[in-house]
């Protein structure tokens, strides 16, 4: 029993120390700022399967570029907001406007969010594309119909008049170096250190086999506690007999 206890103890020692240290860090992750810092090492990003964005579309907006990289919206190479299923982006001389399938984002020329508008005039379907009317007003194509916003983008009016011919936003190819910069940024915002530690602490980072190994090591620690108690009790009894 003593030899087995020693062998298991030595094997589990490093694991116990690791669990204590990582557990303490997780318990204080907020104070340590681990939830605000992100993993950026390429091999860890590879391990998490964080490749470049699956979808990438850029739109020329004045002198700038608005790009949808996955669900991240970039103004040139600066991430400015999240938006799902980007459908278009325009600049009307005052504001940058970006559309997802079910929301619109209004930004100032520096990329600061003015307002995020859920898309939902009565009877409207999802946003298909975004454009500008002759007078610079925002126009949305949705379910085969055109919706025209007022100047403040507060209300919408549906119109199918033949004379109105909005200029619809069309994707364009951004400069190669800009595309690369965006891909780097996109990939760089990996999991938080807190998440990484949680995955390490639970064994999930190694997949199902990791969880199994951690289970075995947890059982080994339980065994150490039990065998330690038994050895202690035996030693005490032998001491009394002497």
């Amino acid at each position: 029993m003593r030899r087995l206890h020693r062998t298991v103890g030595v094997t589990a020692a490093a694991f116990v120390i690791f669990m204590v240290v990582s557990g303490l860090a997780i318990n204080h992750s907020n104070g340590l700022g681990l939830d605000r810092r992100h993993v950026s090492q390429p091999f860890l990003l590879d391990w998490y399967g964080l490749d470049g964005p699956e979808t990438f579309q850029s739109y020329a907006a004045g002198d700038d570029w608005l790009s949808f990289a996955g669900s991240q919206l970039f103004l040139n190479d600066k991430p400015v907001a999240t938006v799902s299923n980007g459908t278009g982006a325009v600049f009307n001389g005052e504001m940058l406007i970006a559309a997802g399938s079910d929301e619109l984002l209004l930004l100032d020329p520096q990329g600061q969010l003015i307002e995020r508008l859920p898309w939902g005039p009565a009877g409207a379907e999802k946003i298909d594309s975004l454009g500008l009317s002759d007078n610079g007003g925002v126009v949305v194509a949705s379910g085969g119909q055109s919706w025209f916003a007022d100047q403040d983008v507060l209300s919408w009016e549906r119109s199918n008049e033949a004379g109105l011919s909005p200029l619809w936003a069309t994707p364009a190819s951004a400069p190669e170096n800009l595309q690369q910069a965006i891909a780097r940024q996109y990939r760089g915002s990996g999991p938080s250190l807190e998440r990484f530690l949680l995955d390490l602490h639970s064994g999930r980072i190694f997949g199902p086999i990791g969880i199994l190994i951690y289970d075995l090591l947890a059982l080994a620690i339980a065994f150490l506690a039990l065998s330690g108690l038994i050895l202690w009790a035996r030693g005490r009894r032998n001491g009394k007999q002497r």
Binding site: M19, V20, G23, I26, N30, D35, D108, Q112, L113, I114, E115, R116, P118, G120, D152, L154, S155, S192, R195, L198, D199, H201, S202, G203, R204, Y214, D215, A218, I221, A222
Partner: protein, 167 residues
């Protein structure tokens, strides 16, 4: 420490309890008014920063106003992701606060009426704080604080809006 072996894997799915359209229909008996705009600039921006501890992530807000009632849809990050909250204010008292969308992995208990009903009838004290104590929820402290900040912010903005004068 061993207990933490069972830590759940984050799910990351948003729960929509009520859409903005449903919230507004409920707030204004199915006929919501046209929205108004409130720009967050100057002293108002500073006041919001003081309440939230950071700038609100938008430069302007829309709100809906009818008689003495106003409705606000605001967002604040609990731990990592924004919580969308709808707040109905009558005169200067919160009539109802509802979590519209909850995106965090933990702390979703703040969306239950058992928690949000605590905000009913809350108003602002002279000091700018809520006049009602809000009981926390174990494990959802950051979400509770986020909702409390938004309730305070909505009451402060309501006092500055056209609605406070019965427009």
């Amino acid at each position: 420490m061993i207990v933490s072996f069972c830590l759940p894997v984050p799910a990351g799915a948003a729960t929509v309890y009520e859409t903005q359209a449903e919230f507004l229909a409920r707030a204004f008996s199915d006929s919501p008014p046209e929205p108004n705009l409130l720009w967050l600039s100057g002293e108002r921006k500073s006041a919001v920063r003081q309440i939230l501890g950071h700038d609100y992530p938008a430069l302007r807000l829309r709100y809906w106003c009818q008689a003495d009632r106003s409705a606000w849809v605001l967002e604040e990050i609990g731990k990592e992701l924004p919580i969308t909250v709808g707040i109905i204010i009558d005169k200067s008292y919160i009539r109802n606060l509802r979590v519209l969308t909850y995106r965090e992995n933990r702390g979703g208990e703040v969306a239950t009426p058992a928690f949000t009903d605590q905000f009913n009838e809350a108003a602002l004290k002279q000091s700018g704080k809520l006049d009602t104590g809000i009981d926390g929820i174990s494990g959802a402290t950051l979400s509770v604080q986020a909702l409390t900040r938004l309730a305070t912010m909505a009451l402060m903005l309501n006092a500055e809006s056209n609605c406070s004068s019965g427009a």
